[in-house]
């Protein structure tokens, strides 16, 4: 009799511990925060990066994700319109063809935020607002790398595709 009571007490204790553990394990905020870093010059890799972000959204669900894409260094060519007006002959080759534009548009509709590095554009003499696909003043950050550091500090997981 005493043993049974003891067992009941023990089971209750285990149950309490388990439920406390479960409560702690369950995240209050199920949102995944992720920062993607694109700095590759290769258009193939740039398109692959967009594809990877899209797959991430498909896998986890748009509503569970807060995705930032930081485009920096040689990666900015992804946003440069091909054969844009006023581009000098030695200008950065533009990779923002139809496929890339559709890819970016799709991600933006699904809630992905893009941050474009102003330093990288300045170094390459790219006129941000006239030669880039769909980049406004709000999309620019002074330093893409500093932005990545800031986002990681805010709990975003870093992925470089």
């Amino acid at each position: 009799m005493r043993l049974r009571r003891l067992l009941t007490y023990f089971a209750g204790l285990v149950g309490l511990m388990a439920s406390t553990g479960a409560a702690q394990a369950a995240p209050e905020d199920p949102l995944q925060r992720v920062v993607y870093h694109i700095d590759a010059a290769d258009p193939e890799r740039q398109r692959a990066a967009l594809r990877i972000v899209r797959n991430h959204l498909n896998d986890v669900g748009d509503e569970h994700l807060d995705i930032r894409v930081v485009i920096q260094g040689n990666g900015v060519s992804m946003l440069v319109l091909p054969d844009s007006d006023g581009a000098a002959a030695d200008a950065l080759p533009g990779h923002a063809d139809d496929r890339v534009q559709v890819g970016i548009e799709d991600l933006k509709i699904r809630g992905v935020t893009f941050h474009v590095c102003r330093n990288s554009l300045t170094r390459r003499n790219v006129d941000a607002l006239n030669r880039l696909y769909d980049v406004g003043p709000d999309d620019l950050v002074d330093s893409g790398l500093a932005e990545i550091v800031r986002l990681q500090g805010d709990g975003y997981t870093y992925i470089k595709p």
Binding site: D39, G73, S120, R123, S143, L145, A146, V149, Y158
Partner: protein, 242 residues
């Protein structure tokens, strides 16, 4: 099969030649135990180095697991004692040596002796350079300098490490880098900036290509670039691959 002669640590770091890698892969197919060990090694390199313990050495066909683990415990205990003693002696003898934290002090086995535990508000950034392009490296140095300046101007503490690994080692190779004077200048101006070279990459160049790598004077060396990067991330550093 000369699998014993191949450094499995180098394999885990992706530092072997194609031939050696193929050899390891073939050996892993024939020997599940070896595959298991390599897999564990990969995970343990990440986890155990944090605690500054000896990563278990792959020892194929071993029947002496108990004996080995006892040795590891004993070795760990011995290291701990040495570490405690050394820390106590250094604290006693070298008061106010804050500048000793300037470098990731690395012992010959590549374990950090000065973990980057700093004031909570210090921003710590590791740039993992694997790109050989001098322009990419130059742009990185520009960004690093801008950050160092901005943090200094604001009076915010910052530590930056540039870990050169694989093709990225070119930045720190005296015969190849175009940035030597720049590195010297930056390292001279900023105590909170460290350049770290991966020893596995250096060894691979020697074994595969007969190249004796000469590093620029300001470069520190770590055993494994990958382990270093993992350790830093686990210590809470921001990580950016360039």
């Amino acid at each position: 099969m000369s699998i014993d002669e191949i450094d499995l640590n180098a394999y885990v770091d992706g530092e072997l030649s194609h031939d050696q890698e193929a050899e390891v892969l073939e050996a892993m197919r024939d020997n599940p135990e070896l595959a298991q060990q390599i897999c564990q090694l990969g995970q343990l390199k990440a986890q155990m180095r944090i605690a500054y313990a000896n990563p278990p050495q792959p020892d194929r066909g071993s029947m002496r697991r108990v004996g080995r683990s006892w040795r590891a415990v004993a070795a760990g205990g011995a290291m701990l004692s040495v570490g405690l003693l050394a820390g106590w002696i250094m604290n006693g003898n070298q008061p106010g040596t804050a500048e000793h934290n300037r470098f990731v002090v690395l012992d010959p086995e590549g374990r950090g002796q000065a973990p980057a535990v700093a004031a909570d508000d210090e921003t710590r950034i590791l740039f993992h350079l694997t790109n050989a392009d001098p322009m990419v490296a130059g742009e990185l140095l520009d960004e690093v300098e801008t950050m160092l300046q901005a943090y200094e101007a604001d009076g915010r503490p910052l530590r930056v490490e540039v870990v050169s690994h694989s093709d990225g080692l070119e930045l720190l190779r005296q015969s190849l880098t175009v940035h030597e004077s720049r590195i010297q200048e930056l390292a001279g101006d900023y105590d909170n900036l460290t350049f770290v070279a991966c020893k596995n990459t250096i060894n691979r160049l020697r074994v595969d290509h007969g190249i004796e790598v000469q590093l620029v004077p300001d470069a520190e060396v770590t055993d494994s670039g990958v382990s270093h990067v993992v350790r830093r991330q686990q210590q809470g550093w921001s990580y950016i691959r360039v």
